[in-house]
Amino acid sequence: MKLETKNSVRTGWTTRLTRWNLTALLLLAASGLVVTFGPFHAAVEWTVLLHTVLGVLTLLPLIWYSIAHWQDYKTYNLSDVLLLGYVSAVALLLCLLSGVVVTWQGLFALKMSPLWRNIHLYSTFVTLLTGLPHGILVWVRVRKKATTPVARPVVLHGLGWTLVAVLAVAGLTALYGGQSYVNEFPADYNYSYGEDRPFAPSLAMTESGGAFDAESLAGSMTCGTANCHSQILDEWKPSAHRYSAMDPLFQKVQSVMAEQNGPESTRYCGGCHDPISLFSGTKNLFVEDLTGLHGYQEGISCLSCHGVRETDLQGNANYVMTQPATYLWQWQESGLGKFASDFLIRTYPDKHMELSKRMFKAPEYCAACHKQFIDEEVNRVGWVQLQNQYDNWKASHWFVEGDPTKTVECRECHMPLVASTDPARGDATDYNRTPGDGMHRSHRFIAANSMVPAMLELPGYEEHVRLTEEWLQGKFEIPEIQDKWRDGPVVKLALEVPERATPGEAMPIKLVMTANKVGHDFPTGPLDIIQSWVEMHVTDASGNEVFSSGIRDEKNFIEPGSFLFKAEPVDQYGNLIDRHNLWEMVGVRYRRALFPGYSDAVEFLVDCPMTAVLGEQTDLARTGREVQEFTVPAGAEATSYRVTAKLMYRKVDQFLINFLLGEDSGLTAPVVEMASVEADIPVGAGGGVVVGGGG
């Protein structure tokens, strides 16, 4: 074995090439290990950037060094040192190659591939595990014969530059350490429900128990830049989660509540409707407008859901919100900072990945807001159940514990799969999905509100309204649950009419309504506001209407005496809660809704062709059906009658719109015909009953 001398090889201990390249390797390895094993911190993010820049700058020198080193020693006999050197060199080249790939992906691709990231990581370990013994063994052999220290200058050089790098990172971090938040309540914040419950009567809580800067939960638009989650962002824009705070009706109700019951009490609404404003302390006695700009524009922003750490089954926004750590320049929407931020998210993604949690699939997670009650703290009287989609679903046939072939959970209907280019497409943990399915769950949260998106003309509202109408009519198809969902309308209608109408005798017309597709009560939501009703027409053979029910008048009110699915909540004196003034609600005068899979019925008794006498109602409560009978007039010369029954739906009753937006606003909620059914009754002697279904 030859011993190196200063002049015989280019890559000996004492050459500048060796010194600089070993320093570069040390810096790259050390920074890489910091990035891999260090905590999430701005300094580490700067280290990522430094590591990348250093890697790019030293890529060619390292290759050059490796080749020169090989050429210097290729004639040596095979030994442990040489073998270690070869393995180390191959690993280093692999590390450099994968470094180039992940840098490229970080800069220009949608996401970094885990494979290349792992190659980069493991090749680093192999390089270190073989390179270090290689160097140490050589040093041990050389130092015996060397007259001057061989390794010390190299080590000192490396350590010196490492110190410089550490100082540089510290300096850069001091210069810009990322977005800093002002997590403070206003000085005059009113703790009317106790110092330890700043957000009561909402049950929502922050991880720290204190305020969160509004900006820290906003910034949804930045999620859709650089084409990352742009599809999801577009779905969210016209969705109910997005307009939960900007909804003009919500805004008005909130201001009425503030005027009548005190601004702080609107925190009750904020946990679900306006968390950004709630947590930033905007819902306070001394502010004019209880929704801040960020809260208004983003409602349930991306982070309002993805930042939740835990939820409780109690409902009323019983969740704990975290303040997700941000990457450097994360809230910038364009420019170099945005570019760097995207690069960091892709190449250093672990913190970002924490925003996706297994919990988000659970119906219990949705229940935090989709389950509501009033208690004494709100109405000063006592507990009242409000909308509760979760418990109804759980008690229904749609939930079969442990059996995904029979269970349909919230997301399966309301977040159906859509073809996706999103970096987060595919899912190995969802039971009817695979990592390579090329889909994501729609963040449109399609449901029953076709009013507000159009009213606000949110981006993409036309499509959203169209899908909502399809949804209400049961025309919305979800292929992945086709085998366990049902066909046809949301609520199936069936008419039972007599085979013949006999002049002078009553003809009973019965409409049976069955909850078919709906996964919770129909209708659901605030039943003081939502209305679904039966519109019934009986026409004679010439098309003259001889009876109708459920017609809207010229002011868009449904005529008194109609069959309505809704509730009439009341205050202590039995006066209607008609302004969504839930702070006064103590119970209901009546409610009517269909439980999944159950039926209700209304019956009209038509005299043929006698004069009208308004009829009777029977409560068939034990069977879960209501039968309502009417006696109605029919034309004297009719030869047959046609009966048409429709189930109608609107999101907001007319009074509330008039009250909140003015009688002269001319506004009314769009009405959707969810299903209809027809039957003909010939006039003549005879009897029997014909049953007709429809959709």
């Binding site: 004019e288 509760n388 418990d391 109804n392 004196y573 209607l576 119970g587 109602q617 009250f659």
Partner: protein, 830 residues
């Protein structure tokens, strides 16, 4: 050797191909970037440019119901020109109210089918309410302007339109038609502008005439050229003779004389759309600039006895199709400049006044006319070419971000028909320009989804309607209605100034045409009370963005009638009223706080009010202690007399302690203050009926309940009580109808079934009576629902009681299905 040669040959051939391919010129691609073509006028947005946060609050403000057009257009000019709007505090409550002009509708429509123009009152909480009693005004409207022509201190209103020119007089907040102006019949009147041009301290009115339009549906099919673009004959203003303009001199006592020709401002060759009064040459007399479509614009200098048209010599006789017009000192050089919006394929114009630059050359002291000139700076400043694809209409200067520099907004919307949709015109986005310290105007529109949304915009005007210290934006959209964009920009300090000039009567005038110069730090900020835009009128409160400065160090007002006056210093964040001849500025109340910003008002009062209200509610609801709650409610109401919940629970407390008359009085107050409160009417009706001593009481109760039912027809509560009252008054048919309807909708209406059973029993139908009693009994039971489920309204125990005139009869019923005993008490009562 052969191998070597062939290798060389192959290598050479490959190298030749490579060199050939490498040096071959690339085929041109459409749209490729070439270094020889530069875009020096293009500016990247500077980092300090604000985010243009304008929020569409139209619906929330209650303006979504307004419609600006009815029917389908038939491709005739008067259908496409659109309309404007006018901000003005007609009720003198300190905030700007709003008059919206409707373009009416299609030419063929009868007048009764036109969409009406409407007056909206600003309620001071960010919302508007249509004013009851404003005349039903169905015209093919264009412009409007508020002006106190009778000098009574209340703003009157002029409204123009196709074949319409109307004046409305304001009698202490009540708007009513005034005698007609002496105008020619059937004209096509566009912009209207008030000003005291003759210095006699009353307001005169200038009315622009557009064209002498001839209705001719056949002309739709004839094609003509408009600035090189083919348009239907009936849509081309050049197809028609220009209409003259009118100048109505105010002779006092509500009389006007038309003197346009006499004073030389009738502009018979101009197809005029708007005019702006302003003292361009600072000689103390108001001059007049007129924007004309397809004809030269005119600048009329006021020479005291007559006007002199100097458009050409002043370089502002713009030949392009001018629509909108505004004036402002965008570069802070101490004189007001003009911005004019134009038709498609024409740049907009920014005429920079050279008045101050030429101050040495000619005096503005009135001794000799100033040779005023303007230069068009639109293109170098980024306002010119950007507008080529747009048809511009309403426009205003305003300092939207309060950085001390006037920004600019333009409403766009084509006059060309949308492809394949002749019933609509092509929509276009607005333009919002941020003024970068007088160096450049940057278009920020793309950063705001709402402003960037294409619409057929027309009129535009600004006002700080919500009193938060920044100008908000209202724009008229043809066919649709209006869009109100609330200004949510992060902005600097500000100052508002309202001018009151000496008038003819006891009340001061509104100083139209006056100018104000504010010095704040090293800034010279100039605003003039001159409003045109397009057919519109912005607020008369002058808004100054102060940037970092917290106050105006000095304020100089140049009154429209000549003479100037100094005020100040004035603190920012306030609206100040400066009155001619009075030394002190007056701080105006009513500048409200903004979203998320602290309330500046009386915090102690607010805290006291809520403390009393909460103590009252706690006493009443938790402790059921009405005696204690009543004074607490009264205390809360003394601080906030219209607080609805307090009134309601006070009334119920009073009824609870046996004072129904006092309760009725509180409910009556509530009914008056909250006419949309269903429970106010219902509870009053119920109490009145329960404590009725005579038929009149029942009649009054019935009326109140009918009002409750009218407000909300879908609630079954009022139906039930109305049924009871009908029964008490012996109207069985009516009672049956009300009660039956209530029970059809509400399956839990025990009283409804019970009373219907009683009526069946009285009819002698014992079986029906029994059946109904059975239903009443069933309705008392619990709701059916699947086991283990919850439903909205579930409670641990019943927490409400609905007392009605007859409720005690079914409440005391023991549930036996025997009509004789069940109805005995009721029978005795009735």
């Amino acid at each position: 050797m052969a191998a070597l040669l062939s290798t060389i040959a192959v290598v050479a051939a490959v190298a030749g191909v490579v060199v050939y391919r490498a040096t071959r010129p690339e085929v041109r691609r459409p749209g490729e970037k070439l270094p020889e073509i530069t875009a020096k006028l293009a500016r990247n947005l500077p980092a300090e440019a604000p985010m243009p946060r304008f929020t569409d609050v139209t619906a929330a403000a209650g303006l979504a119901g307004f419609r600006s057009f009815a029917g389908d257009r038939t491709s005739q000019l008067p259908e496409d020109m659109g309309s404007g709007l006018a901000w003005g505090d007609f009720d003198n409550d300190g905030d700007d109210d709003l008059f919206l002009v409707s373009a009416g509708g299609a030419l063929g429509l009868p007048e009764t089918d036109l969409a009406p123009s409407r007056l909206y009152e600003n309620l001071g909480d960010g919302t508007f309410r249509p004013v009851d009693g404003f005349p039903d005004l169905r015209i093919r409207g264009m412009g409007a302007a508020w002006g106190d022509y009778d000098g009574d201190g209340w703003l009157d209103l002029a409204v123009s339109g196709y074949r319409a020119l109307l004046l409305f007089r304001n009698r202490e907040g009540r708007i009513e038609p005034a005698p007609a102006l002496p105008a020619p019949e059937g004209g096509y009147w566009s912009g209207v502008s008030w000003a005291d041009f003759d210095g006699d301290r009353d307001l005169d009115l200038y009315v622009c005439g557009y064209v002498q339009y001839v209705e001719d549906s056949g002309g739709v099919r004839r094609a003509t050229e408009q600035y090189g673009t083919t348009v239907p004959y009936t849509l081309n203003p050049a197809s028609f003779e220009p209409e003259v303009n009118l100048l109505f001199r105010n002779d006092g006592g509500g009389r006007f004389t038309e003197v346009a020709s006499l004073w030389g401002v009738s502009n018979p060759e101009g197809r005029s759309l708007g005019a702006l009064w302003h003292d361009f040459d600072a000689d103390g007399r108001l001059d007049l600039y007129v924007a004309n479509d397809i004809s030269d614009n005119a600048l009329f200098m006021n020479r005291g006895e007559t006007f002199e048209e100097v458009g050409l010599s002043a370089w502002v006789a713009d030949y392009r199709g001018a629509m909108g017009l505004t004036a402002g000192d965008w570069n802070r050089d101490g004189d007001d400049d003009l911005f004019i919006t134009h038709w498609i394929a024409q740049e907009n114009a920014l005429y920079d006044s050279r008045l101050v630059d030429m101050a040495g050359a000619s005096a503005g002291d009135g001794t000799r006319p100033v040779q005023l000139t303007f230069t068009d700076q639109a293109s170098p400043l980024g306002l010119g070419q950007i507008a080529i694809q747009r048809v511009g209409w309403g426009t205003e200067f305003a300092d939207f971000d309060a950085d001390g520099w006037l920004d600019l907004v333009v409403a766009n919307g084509s006059t060309l028909e949308a492809a394949g949709e002749p019933k609509r015109l092509k929509p276009q986005p607005m333009m919002l320009f941020w003024n970068q310290q007088g160096r450049h105007f940057h278009d920020l529109t793309a950063l705001n989804e709402e402003l960037a949304r294409p619409r057929v915009h027309r009129g535009l005007a600004l006002s700080d309607y919500d009193g938060d210290g920044d100008p908000d934006l209202l724009v008229m959209v043809l066919y649709e209605g209006v869009k109100l964009y609330r200004n949510d920009l992060e902005s600097g300090n500000w100052l508002g100034i309202k001018l009151r000039s000496r008038g003819t009567g006891a009340a001061p005038g509104f100083a139209e045409g006056s100018s104000v110069e504010v010095r704040a730090g090293d800034q010279l900020l100039r605003r003039s009370l001159t409003r045109a835009s397009y057919l519109s009128q912005s607020s008369r409160i002058l808004h100054f963005g102060l940037g970092e400065a917290e106050r105006a160090d000095s304020v100089e007002v140049r009154w429209h009638g000549g003479g100037s006056q100094s005020f100040g210093p004035l603190a920012g964040g306030n609206v100040w009223e400066l009155t001619e001849g009075e030394a002190e500025a007056r701080r105006l109340a009513g500048a409200a706080a903004v979203a998320g910003r602290p309330i500046e008002g009386d915090r102690e009062r607010l805290v006291a009010c809520w403390a009393a209200q909460r103590a009252a509610m706690d006493a009443f609801k938790y402790d059921a202690d009405c005696e204690r709650a009543i004074p607490l409610f009264r205390q809360a109401l003394s601080l906030d007399p219209t607080h609805e919940d307090s009134l309601y629970y006070l009334a119920n407390c009073l009824a609870g302690v046996g004072d129904p008359e006092a309760a009725l009085a509180e409910l009556a107050t509530m009914r008056a203050h909250s006419p949309m409160s269903h429970r106010a009417h219902k509870q009053w009706g119920v109490l009145r009926a329960i404590h009725a001593s005579e038929e009149e009481d029942l009649i009054a109760a019935e009326a109140a309940l009918e009002r409750a039912l009218e407000i909300n027809r879908e609630g079954t509560g009022s139906l039930l009580v109305l049924g009871e009252i009908a029964l008490l008054r012996g109207n069985l048919e009516k009672a049956d109808d009300h009660l039956a309807r209530a029970t059809y909708t509400n399956p839990r209406a025990v009283g409804g079934f019970f009373l219907r059973g009683y009526m069946a029993w009285k009819r002698g139908d014992e079986a029906a009576a029994r059946a109904l009693l059975e239903r009443a009994q069933a309705a008392r039971g619990p709701d059916w629902k699947p086991e283990g489920t919850t439903a909205e309204g579930d409670v641990v125990g019943r927490q409400h009681r609905e007392e009605t005139p007859l409720s005690r009869y079914w409440e005391s019923w023991d549930g036996t299905i025997a009509p004789g005993s069940a109805f005995a008490g009721l029978e005795a009562r009735l």
